[in-house]
Symmetry: C2
Subunit: 367 residues, 2 copies
């Protein structure tokens, strides 16, 4: 076994999920993630946790979802709910054999099944859950990379010194927590937004930081009152459609104009979902320098160093004052912009990042 | 997909497990059984059951079992117990990638883990559980067969007209239920045993018949007061040791002498386990003519038509009068003899089977 698989398992179990002796662990294993699952099982055994392994197969899911009449009703699984309610830790070990395995499952039916399984989804979220991926050939293909090349990419992103990255991200969180206004200047971009009374999340890939993805490596908050223009130069996939070079214009916090070089219709559909879809739900600063390229996977792309992302739609409660709810929407669509060149990120008029270099880093130039 | 995979799934869901709308189903999928699992998921969806899929991976199990110090303690998984208690139906879809995947797990540790998980095992037995296998290359190899050849073998055994086989087996059950004494005559064999007050089980591969294996196809009971000699000419594996041509001599129900051409020590170990290991726990009549050869797998071998098997050790409660317990032992070791030639099976002095042909079949000669 590749040593990195073992190290990935250790990071997942210790840093991310903080597994302790006696913890009741459920691990969900995707079709192609067997090797990582074996490594995780060994780590859990060493730590005297218990283990139940579920099979997160898209193809089994597809067969189950497609079966039956058009008017078939769905219900959650009681054994699954009981299982999740008894779990302390839930580990999702992703990495299938085909990222489009569910392509021929009717969208309405998928939505129906999703609605019927709200209880199990909520029970999962109530556990200390962490989601990661094993670098399968299918994910390499989606990233447009060779398999070995993609393995290197994933392990560079996952096998960080998380303790020290968390410390560095704490600087960014402190700046955002203390600040009132963020301004982003970049190519075709001059955007201001308020972060008054908002709390930033130091998403350091650990349940101890309220962060549930491995890798992570971003600091995010919930902006409002957005004004100005922003240009997203990182290509992405929205609803299975390729989207490129998107510009949005905001007035009074709402999108009033938009354009895209490619996939403009997909953006239009997002904006038309509901009222909240026209407002921002998230401002995120990517700080994981182990991620050095875009791979068309939001798990990695939005964490990449020298990037900033904004999401249209739903805001996370963790960023809001206790009891207050932020922007609400059925969607949360992240869009990313590269800030490695000709860019400045300002908080209350002070430059925090210029051309990808933060104020606390060597080589930072304030003016 | 091979049509036979779909048919296998249908037999499992309808005939064996009797799944109905609203049933809460848990399916355990071995590493190599993905295709059958997909087919079963489709059948369950059609029947409006719910589905939770667990991953029955020997390699994940091995990693978990081997981890940690020598004095590591084991405990059952609470999520697994809760899951099983909420399940109506439990389907085990076997078929791994290596039948010896657990070869380097220490026996004492395995026993310790087994003891610690009694609660989950009992919860599983309390559901309508059925165990079957997908014909993997690993199982083909254990059977000494080519993969396609083994697929044909498995589907011939599984895709029977179970309704009509169950009817035929009912004849055998009636004879045994009415009878007091069974006598087996064959090469180097003349054995009598009492079946007074015993009830035979028509093991027709369905929970409706208290039968939990697919394939099945045997009628079995719990004999006692065994006298005489028996010779088992079918090779088998006991505790990973090859055993061949075993003879046992019984007096007053107990083994008083034994010999084996190969693996005599394995037989000796079995007999020395405890007091009950020297007495019979089962007499079974194989009646599945879809099974036409021995494949070193007890799931198939003991069901083969024209065979009789006897087990040393534990008897099944289903064969005993209510409240009475039969032969008790930590072991239950089946041994098989071919009765297709030069043999007679008699109940109360009347011939029921001669040279593999039953009384109710064409070509039967009573004398």
């Amino acid at each position: 076994m590749d040593d990195r698989v073992r190290e990935h398992a250790e990071v997942l179990v210790d840093w991310s999920a903080r597994v302790e002796a006696g913890d009741q662990v459920v691990m969900d294993v995707a079709e192609g993630a067997h090797d990582l699952a074996v490594a995780v099982a060994a780590e859990l055994g060493k730590r005297d946790a218990t283990l139940l392994t579920t099979y997160g197969s898209s193809e089994v899911g597809r067969a189950f979802l497609r079966a039956g009449d058009a008017d078939r009703e769905f219900a959650h699984s009681e054994p699954e709910l009981a299982m999740l309610e008894a779990a302390d830790v839930y580990l999702r070990v992703g990495g299938g054999r085909n990222t489009t395995a569910l392509a021929d499952v009717d969208g309405d039916r998928r939505q129906k099944a999703r609605t019927a399984t709200t209880a199990t989804r909520e029970a999962r979220m109530d556990s200390d859950w962490v989601s990661t991926v094993h670098p399968t050939r299918s994910l390499a293909q989606q990233a447009g990379m060779a398999h070995e090349e993609y393995q290197d990419f994933v392990y560079d992103a996952v096998l960080r010194d998380w303790e020290s990255l968390a410390d560095e991200m704490a600087n960014m969180k402190d700046v955002l927590d203390a600040g009132s206004e963020v301004r982003i200047e970049a190519e075709r971009t001059d955007l201001t937004m308020s972060i008054e009374d908002r709390t930033a999340v130091n998403s350091a890939a650990s349940v101890a930081y309220d962060s549930h993805n491995l890798p992570s490596g971003e600091v995010f908050t919930a902006p409002h009152a957005t004004e100005g223009e922003v240009f997203f130069d990182v290509p992405m996939t929205i609803d299975a459609r390729r989207v490129k070079d998107v510009s949005l214009t905001f007035e009074d916090g709402e999108v009033v104009d938009f354009a895209a070089e490619q996939g403009e219709e997909a953006i239009e559909n997002v904006l038309d979902t509901d009222e909240g879809a026209r407002r921002l739900g998230e401002l995120g600063i990517g700080m994981n320098r182990g991620i050095d390229r875009f791979t068309d996977s939001i798990l990695f792309d939005e964490k990449m160093g020298d990037t900033v992302h904004l999401a249209l739609g739903r805001a996370y409660d963790a960023c809001l004052p206790e009891g207050e709810s932020g922007n609400d929407s059925a969607v949360h669509v992240d869009m990313i912009t590269d800030v490695s060149e000709n860019s400045r990120l300002l908080v209350d008029g002070e430059v925090v990042q210029r051309n990808g270099t933060f104020r606390w880093e060597e080589g930072f130039e304030s003016a």
